[in-house]
């Protein structure tokens, strides 16, 4: 269980209960992470097709992160500002990018370390058999 500030609004907080209710991805990212930039376009694509993605902004600076998203697009429904990396430590994060697959109850069904792309989505995540509700990423 956690409660941390949101990236967009320092006064608003997000807790684990905010991530429940529907299958989602939790993407660990940071502006200092080069590979995160590489996967970002695909995350935008996933979000556009209806996949819910939450962001865990890991050990980053608020201003830099906000500008980064403004420039590269924001696929995240919510962004957790984990400045100290405490939530990351509790999750077992050791770097970025990482992506967790959450089911409706918020149980972690899969953890992917490294860049998220079409191949990973197809080979590792679609096979989990989770019903993503809305149309999954189209004809891939």
């Amino acid at each position: 269980a956690f409660t941390l500030p949101q990236l967009a609004n320092a006064d608003a907080s997000v807790s684990n209960s905010d991530l429940l209710g529907a299958p989602a991805l939790l993407n660990v990212w940071a502006t200092w992470c080069i590979a995160c930039r590489a996967e970002h376009a695909y995350l935008n694509q996933l979000a556009d097709s209806g996949i819910t993605i939450y962001g865990l902004n890991y050990k980053d600076e608020r201003d830099a992160a906000t500008q980064w998203l403004a420039r590269l697009g924001n696929p995240y429904r919510l962004n957790i500002f984990d400045h100290q990396g405490r939530l990351g430590l509790d999750l077992g994060v050791y770097g970025a990018p990482e992506t967790y697959v959450l089911d409706t109850e918020g149980i972690i069904r899969y953890r992917h370390v490294g860049v998220m792309n079409e191949q990973v989505w197809r080979d590792k995540i679609v096979v989990l058999g989770i019903d993503w509700g809305q149309q999954a990423v189209g004809a891939m």
């Binding site: 050990k59 990396g85 430590l89 509790d90 999750l91 077992g92 994060v93 050791y94 770097g95």
Partner: protein
């Protein structure tokens, strides 16, 4: 130690003696290598100069020595084979801080290990727990050692047999 073979050792008992010494050398190397690989030295309090060091103030000497012991028993999750004492990785620094906090909060060594494995898996323990999956890992070194010892014994028996059957050379005391 052992026999000094007479030179030139062109005969079969000389070659067997060389082989025998090589077997002993190998066995000794195995003995030294196996424990070092399977576990870290947990007995001695390490000097603070070992590996990466941050300045820390401990509320007791016992906490300090437990800290350094655990630093060597916990693997950096991001690294292939570095412990928390040696690794520069940011996650290692985070975990060192966490370890310090947990110790000061009064966690026991067992609780600390549980804390770490709950988050990072048994991969972070240099001494993996003994389960049906790790049985081979634990049993293999002593089994290999027993096999090596057996081979050495047989080579030694063969050399003694060869020495007794062939001509005995002055100064070659292995069969006396």
């Amino acid at each position: 130690m052992g026999t000094v073979k007479t030179a030139p050792a062109a005969n079969s008992s000389g070659r067997v003696a060389v082989a025998l010494h090589s077997c002993w050398l190998l066995t000794i190397c195995l003995c030294l290598a196996v424990p070092a690989h399977a576990q870290s030295n947990v007995n001695n309090e390490l000097l603070p100069e070992t590996g990466v060091s941050e300045l820390r103030e401990f509320s007791s000497l016992q906490l300090r020595s437990r800290y350094y012991a655990l630093l060597n028993q916990l693997r950096c999750p991001k690294c292939q084979n570095q412990n928390l004492a040696d690794s520069d990785a940011p996650i290692a620094a985070d975990l060192r801080n966490e370890l310090y906090s947990l110790l000061e909060e009064g966690y026991s060594d067992t609780e600390i290990r549980e804390f770490m494995t709950a988050r990072y898996g048994t991969f972070v323990l240099y001494q993996p727990p003994l389960t049906q999956y790790t049985l081979a890992l634990w049993l293999l070194p002593p089994v290999l050692l027993a096999i090596a010892a057996g081979l050495v014994w047989r080579a030694s028996a063969a050399s003694r047999a060869a020495g007794n059957a062939g001509t005995s050379k002055p100064g070659d005391s292995s069969e006396q």
